[in-house]
Symmetry: C3
Subunit: 273 residues, 3 copies
């Protein structure tokens, strides 16, 4: 099932419009190409409506946002909704500043998102508006663990129902839910937090997966999360004693490039609650 | 002959001013260093005229353009023309939005370009203003093939004459022409399209080559195109079964770094029509 | 002693706010993670004050500056000063344009910097306002050599006293001084100048080191400079004959990731004058 999601990305080669931060934008473009999609980056308000129209899906990431690009996000998001294109929101650093929190909330009010993907701290901010966010990483007190997994799944399901979309909370254990079912995913490796942009890359890839699998957004988002985590495992196994986080970054993208549907299916580690 | 072009870049170490997109800017800087040139990136209207003045060549790339940077492109382009510096245009995504198409056309009206480098779809847009562009990749129906090569060469020569510069159309077969002669280049590897920015990198490198070889822009641009394609071949031969597009990106830049004039001469695969 | 500086970064995991150029921003983020710190990038005036408040240190880099981000640099710098956070200035390309020179000087007037790190040409510009800067690289006539080392150390000490902070002039020989003592550091490899951003990465890492070692900014900055140079040596030893500057870039970050305090201590090559 999850393998089919990847197969469909490779078959459809969806063109994904990204309005994303300048920190990890190159990695986002390369991971989209690695999974079989095609990226286009455009953030000027004069062109985002048109660019989104020629694409099949949209990925909005609020890292390094500014007043110019915030407007573009809203314009592109609304246009994508009109066209029925899947839209993904990555609320990077929501909670770290009023601007990010308010922008994320404004986007949620004005745009319907197929998937929202963030860490637990960012997602809690979207719900409550009062989380303390340690930069772009999940607040340690808010880490998803085996002990709090059931509670977090309930929290995630409630938020997914409220947002009428799929919610992906990623961390040591990932939760992907549409409000009814929740995939609890245990792929990944702790070293992934030592590279910048695995979250951004996952959001971009999630946009490709839900775009190529319009009827099954939950499974598509889960497949993207599994693919990213499994790539982190494959890449880690490949590290030599001289390799560090820079090589690891490359190896993860390489692993997505070489991942077959069969590998994804076999490497997936999850349960549905 | 083509080897001499590279030799001159290594000897002159030209400083190249780049106004370019934030997606592939780091790769552009590193490939300029790899070929022996030196990069400087600056896009604010308050400084581009001065920055271009201390450089020897200018590379304008319209990917992720915005109203602020468009003005800077025009200012820098005009100043470079006044100073007699070579200027390269990469019309990334021309045809994908009115803003990009109009900006590319405005630049062509206000700035004289030594070389324009794009894919066939972008170049057709510059001519007709009506191409359908699939993101930043060449429209599949418009791919240059052995069957349509003669017609495309004629089209390219006509456009080169009209623009009074060198035109480089890159794809499976590359065409580089000054309107009189056309290099038809068969270097490269299909996997190059699975990384973001090989086109952007080539445009940056072309700026270095024409800057270091002011008397022979056609040969210089052809040498840059051959170097990039040949680097794609060398890098592909180096791939292990775990490597993917991220490692391939690094290996291509590495191949430019290690390419000697002799290697370029020997590896070149082209004919002149 | 220098090893302890790195140990403290790994222990404190300081969150560093970066307002930096879009050319090397990804490398800056990854090298911060490699040394044990955590990066956040934010440059909008609406959020920089808040972002800097939740961080422990600030890194300001003026490459690819524009009117929007210059204001943000000043706002963030002042706020960091109020909070007693260490602040690093990287005056990239000071001397190459009036905008860069004036911005660097404005920042020095309005913000107190814990460390200023640049090449000799940029630093001379900050002192005199009249240097000719060849892009972002040190002017060749102004290179620090064994012959002019004593004079340059005197110059550096005088400027450090004037700026009431630590000054790091990097090049073939690096000088790090607080006006009293000067570390003359001979780590590094000439090939480091063939990759973009080793200076930017060092500035980001310096911010992490001085933040995690607030009582010893001189030793902390010297440790960051030694770490970067030694990483350049380790990475160079690892190069195969197919590797070039792209792989070298990755290997340097990898070397920081794998560097232990003991390795840093043992690999350090410096004298104090």
């Amino acid at each position: 099932m999850l393998g089919t999601m990847l197969e469909n990305v490779r078959r459809a080669c969806p063109l994904i419009h990204n309005i994303t931060n300048y920190v990890t934008v190159n990695d986002c473009a390369n991971i989209l190409l690695a999974c079989g999609a095609s990226p286009i980056m455009a953030d000027d308000r004069e062109e985002v409506s048109e660019i989104t129209s020629i694409c099949a899906g949209l990925n909005i990431n609020i890292g390094t946002l500014n007043s110019r690009t915030i407007d573009s996000m809203v314009i592109a998001g609304k246009r994508a909704n009109e066209l029925g294109h899947p839209v993904v929101l990555d609320p990077v650093g929501a909670g770290a500043s009023k601007l990010r929190t308010q922008t994320a909330k404004r986007l949620m009010n004005e745009v319907r998102f197929t998937v929202i993907r963030g860490n637990i701290s960012e997602i809690k901010t979207l719900v409550s508006g009062s989380a303390a966010t340690k930069g772009v990483d999940a607040n340690i007190a808010d880490r998803v663990t085996e002990e709090n997994l059931n509670d977090t799944v309930d929290f995630a399901k409630a938020f997914a129902l409220q947002s009428r979309g799929v919610l992906a909370i990623t961390g040591a254990i990932d939760i992907v839910t549409d409000g009814q079912q929740a995939y609890c995913i245990r792929n990944g490796h702790p070293m992934m937090s030592s590279i910048t942009g695995t979250g951004c890359q996952l959001s971009a890839m999630t946009a490709a997966f839900v775009t190529a699998n319009p009827a099954t957004p939950l499974e598509a988002a889960a497949a993207a999360v599994v693919a990213m985590g499994y790539a982190g495992e494959i890449a880690h196994a490949r590290l030599t004693n001289l390799d560090g986080n820079a090589s690891y970054r490359n190896y993860i993208i390489d692993a997505i490039y070489n991942m077959t549907p069969e590998m994804l299916e076999k490497g997936a580690s999850y349960e549905v609650r």
